[in-house]
């Protein structure tokens, strides 16, 4: 793909586990993402979604393959990668003793947003997310819904072109999850490149322009929802997912059987 903002080629990650020995958490995956696209990584818990996203965010170092974001290689230019990236997950909490405003200022500054425009940027984020009423209260005093808004705002505080949302709706109530989906949709409309991981099928169906189905560290299939439907003959994503996973269970190299994409390819 010519204008890919995110490129992943043969990415691998192995861990040592005392009881299981060497574990391949991510086993040579390939995908890429365009500007203004939500790319969904759909998989069960333990499929390798978070490890993949942590490698893209340079939190973990790949043990094989390559990845680049906004033209910056994750190994060679980790700081430039992180500057181009906003990372949101259930385990990226806020500093409880800072106020919402201080939080946004801090993340804008530390991610190299132009210093003379930080105040203006913070004000615009406060307006956008409707957090003016409690922007000067310490985060520890806020409700989970308020914290969620500040958390999304801090993810985009430096206006990065690429956003990663790792299971962002886990633990949220229905209304908060819907609000989160609305914000992600808005960000896509603004031209951001978004990688959205989830194990909730309806969420992927509703939000993602393309979906990669990941299982045991490998992408089994990748494409739009319609492409998945055509390939499997199933209508609902849940059934599509089960179809792919079952094919893997039958043995014989599931990825090859369903035509998983090679590096740089966009779908099936």
């Amino acid at each position: 793909m010519e204008n890919a903002m995110v490129r992943v080629e043969g990415l691998q990650k192995s861990f040592w586990d005392e009881s299981r020995g060497e574990v391949r958490a991510v086993d040579g995956i390939d995908f890429d993402c365009r500007p203004g696209e939500i790319f969904g990584l759909l998989g069960a818990n333990g499929a390798g979604k978070t490890t993949t996203l942590r490698m893209l965010a340079t939190i973990l170092k790949p043990t094989g393959g390559r990845a680049s974001l906004n033209g910056h290689d994750v190994l060679a230019e980790p700081e430039a990668v992180r500057r181009s990236l906003g990372f949101f997950s259930a385990s990226t909490a806020l500093y409880p003793r800072l106020t919402g405003r201080e939080t946004l200022e801090f993340f804008a500054r530390i991610n190299q947003y132009p210093p003379d425009r930080v105040a203006e940027r913070v004000d615009s984020l406060i307006d956008r997310f409707g957090i003016a009423e409690y922007a000067n209260a310490r985060v520890e005093k806020l409700s989970s819904g308020m914290k969620q808004k500040i958390s999304i705002a801090r993810t985009i505080a430096h206006d990065p072109p690429i956003l990663i949302f790792d299971e962002p709706t886990v633990g949220l109530d229905v209304m908060a999850a819907i609000e989160m989906q609305r914000v992600v949709g808005e960000l896509r409309d603004e031209g951001k490149t978004i990688i959205f991981s989830t194990h909730i099928m309806s969420e992927a169906e509703k939000l993602c322009d393309r979906i990669g189905i990941i299982h045991r560290g490998r992408i089994l299939a990748l494409g739009t929802l319609d492409e998945h439907r055509q390939a499997t003959g199933q209508h609902y994503l849940e059934d599509i997912f089960v179809h792919y996973v079952a094919a893997t269970g039958a043995g014989g190299g599931a990825a090859a059987a369903i035509g998983a994409p090679g590096p740089g390819e966009s779908g099936q």
Partner: protein
């Protein structure tokens, strides 16, 4: 490393820290108030208890009181804090002393063979229970009364024999303290300030070291921090400087508070009991203390952060860092040897050397080559700790909170490679 990033991260750490009650209490309030107040309370308490003890009566039984010494008997009978009990047998008296119902038995007896040559001579045997404070005090009181009476009696006997007082004044011991009030003050300061400075710098580093590592992990802000564009080195440097800053602040605040409270609280209290102290410091002692506080803080901050970085929770962190705190206190015992100054050997012992250097400076002793050795030793320790920290942080599974929060498990598995693991994921440079 980008110093602009370090500054932003450092400010964030400090801002958060000063809003955390535990850190404010440990690093500011305790240094400023706890030890000065504790000193005052202890000293006042001791004086109060001592006053109570002085007023308590000593219950005494006299046996075979000498008839030719009525003045002594009058003194014993009329002494306000001595209560003479009815005569009983010596054995019964001893039994009562053992069960705490009597404080002392005073038995008068004829003198031994040599003493027989003097008319009206006698000897006194005092039985008391040394394990009981009240009984011990009763013995001291009786001894003091008899001593005093003997002086007066010998004096009057000598006068009757025509021996002038001056002729008997032979081989007397007269003690004179040539120390000035300032020197006495320096002695006390030299005993207290090094101890408090080391203690408070270590205590000041303790909570921030855990809060900035294990605390981040417990609050789930660690991963948030790992995704900012600042380099890992900038993040660690900012945290390290923050921990050291709080340690220095705690040390300097405490020394100032102790110094001021010694002058304002202790000096008047000591003057009441007859001891004169004046608390002043040589001008050069201040920079020496500040340099020592900085060196100690850099050392403690590095050592504590290395261990705390393995912990998965604040509680784990406390358990891991506490031994460092206590180990830090061991060497300063050397600093309590008041007749010792800095030697090449002591200057090579981390922490003890700083404590001794401070004490020397308070006493106006500046052994510059040994002070330089002290600083070099401390800075070498800091460098070693930072090298270890750098090595440890290369293991990304440490950043993700592995090894069950145990430094020893990490050392066994990764540094010593005990399990013989050579996997791709075993040692990953942090990106």
């Amino acid at each position: 490393m980008n110093w602009q990033d370090v500054w932003i991260l450092y400010r964030r750490e400090l801002r958060s820290a000063f809003r955390e009650r535990t850190i404010v209490v440990n690093s500011i309030l305790m240094p400023v108030f706890l030890y000065p107040v504790m000193m005052w309370v202890m000293f006042t308490g001791l004086m109060f208890v001592s006053g109570l003890a002085d007023r308590a009566h000593s219950r005494v039984v006299l046996l075979d009181a000498p008839r030719n010494h009525p003045v002594l008997m009058d003194t014993l009978e009329n002494r306000e804090n001595v209560e003479l009990r009815d005569q009983i047998s010596a054995d019964s008296a001893v039994s009562l002393i053992r069960i705490g119902e009597l404080d002392a038995l005073v038995e008068f007896a004829p003198p031994g063979a040599e003493g027989d040559k003097l008319a009206d001579n006698f000897q006194v045997a005092i039985s008391y229970d040394r394990a009981v404070e009240r009984s011990r005090r009763a013995s001291d009181r009786i001894e003091a009364i008899v001593d005093n009476y003997r002086e007066e009696w010998v004096d009057s006997e000598a006068t009757e024999l025509g021996i002038a007082g001056a002729e008997r004044e032979q081989f007397r011991i007269v003690q004179e303290n040539v120390s000035s009030d300032e020197q006495m003050g320096a002695l006390l300061l030299g005993m207290m300030i090094p101890l408090f400075l080391v203690l408070m710098v270590a205590l000041g580093c303790f909570i921030p070291a855990i809060d900035s590592t294990a605390g981040e992990r417990e609050r789930s802000t660690w991963e948030t921090l790992m995704t900012v564009s600042a380099s890992r080195l900038s993040v660690v440097t900012a945290k390290y400087l923050y921990v050291a800053t709080v340690g220095i602040m705690a040390g300097v605040l405490n020394v100032t508070a102790v110094f001021l409270s010694l002058g304002a609280i202790m000096a008047p209290l000591l003057a009441e009991v007859g001891d004169q102290f004046q608390f002043t410091l040589p001008f050069l002692a201040l920079p020496v203390m500040i340099v020592a506080a900085i060196s100690l803080a850099l050392f403690f901050a590095a050592a504590m952060m290395i261990l705390a970085s393995f912990a998965r929770s604040f509680k784990d962190g406390q358990a891991m860092v506490t031994p460092v705190y206590w180990l830090a206190l061991l060497p300063i015992v050397l600093g309590q040897q008041t007749d010792q100054t800095l030697t090449p050997m002591i200057a090579a012992i981390p922490v003890a050397n700083a404590a001794m250097m401070i004490r020397d400076a308070i006493n106006g002793v500046f052994l510059w080559p040994l002070m330089a050795e002290t600083l070099v030793v401390l800075l070498v320790m800091v460098a070693l700790c930072l090298m270890l920290a750098r090595m440890v942080l290369q293991f990304e599974d440490l950043l993700m909170g592995s090894f069950d929060g145990s430094f020893w498990r990490f050392a066994k598995e990764r540094l010593l490679n005990r399990n013989g693991k050579k996997t791709a994921g075993a040692k990953q440079g942090v990106v």
